[in-house]
Symmetry: C2
């Protein structure tokens, strides 16, 4: 009704009591899930336990989340939404890679406040580590990112006025970009540095490496 058609969540700036209540239980479920996952681990936590800790039936949990994995990655989805919006607002003059880069970096602060409306930031940080070390979650996240990448390809193609089926470049660019983002967050996850700032720097650094990494000539400083 607000004009912002959501992905799967209830409308963000909703009006009625009903909508607000829905949003509340959804947030409560995500938070409860993340708290349990970060303490007992993902596989060590049952959906029943999550539901119970919010005093809701298991069936209700599955009405909010397609799967246990989706609950764990709810925040991730939120972030992707913000990023996509940021990309759409980049000036048309920016070349594709720069637009992607700037969208990531510019959206950073918005994102952390948006996250904080749902869960404490440090909980999210700890959750990232869990994701990075849980195969099932890694797989689910990668699937989500693949869907995201499809949307990115469409957007890039639109910006540049290209046919995303005939022209390979948007797909290739986005694939590379996505890979780099994954590499960055993986790197950040391992370093166990719990700051958003550090994460931002990691992403920036990785993006700046795209050029040098692909244009050979690595061995100048090495041997």
């Amino acid at each position: 009704m607000t004009g912002i058609t959501a992905t799967a969540q209830p409308a963000p700036g909703a009006s009625g009591l009903r909508e607000r209540k829905k949003q509340r239980t959804r947030d409560a479920l995500t938070r409860a899930a993340m708290e349990l996952f970060t303490t007992r681990g993902f596989e060590g936590t049952t959906v029943d336990e999550i539901a119970e800790s919010v005093e809701v039936s298991q069936r209700t949990f599955f009405r909010y989340f397609q799967s246990k994995e989706h609950a764990a990655l709810a925040v991730e989805e939120l972030i992707e939404g913000h990023f996509m919006a940021a990309l759409r607002e980049r000036p048309a003059a920016e070349p594709p890679l720069e637009a992607l880069r700037n969208a990531v970096l510019s959206t950073w602060d918005d994102v952390s406040t948006a996250i904080h409306e749902v869960v404490p930031l440090d909980l999210y940080m700890r959750m990232c580590q869990v994701v990075e070390t849980t195969p099932a979650l890694l797989a689910a996240r990668m699937r989500g990112q693949a869907e995201m990448e499809q949307r990115l390809v469409a957007e890039i193609a639109r910006r540049e006025g290209l046919d995303p089926v005939l022209d390979l470049r948007p797909r290739v660019l986005v694939a590379a970009f996505g890979g780099v983002i994954r590499a960055a967050s993986g790197h950040w996850g391992k370093c166990a540095d719990d700051s958003v700032e550090q994460m931002r720097r990691s992403v920036e650094e990785h993006i700046n490496t795209i050029g040098p990494a692909l244009t050979g000539g690595w061995r100048a400083p090495g041997a």
Copy 2:
């Protein structure tokens, strides 16, 4: 014993009757799984049906495959093994991206014969389409590829004498490369052209696009 230490499958060139039998049932299971998946769909097929069609208990199925998904992606894993071996054999003089590229292209023929020892090629082709359209399989495959990419990073770093933790470039390069491969196979899957040759060409074309896709200046031919 042949020097090719396998990933999880029984040793390829095994000696005893036991080993050969194991390999036979494993192959039979993969083939049965793929045949059922391609006709009834992945979710429309139960593990019991697969096991039954090979006249084996469900429990045995799970002794061969960690999950239903793993059975669907068994061939994929086989291919990755060949690719990894090919990469290790590339001359040390080749710069990283070229080595990756050549490993893919050079290994192509070996792969198709290796596949054919397990399943008919056209069955594999049809299976690729199923993977591309089944969310659970997409996720599982991406996870597998992520693991593969880690191994690739290690190998590239070794070749170049770099520390894969400190130096970002191997990770970034492999991420980009992996993304491109995914883009290529996705593109091939959509075009529904059932030839290996076409697939090879698609991969080659995509790899050659890496440079142009990243170095901006797209709008020369377009508008």
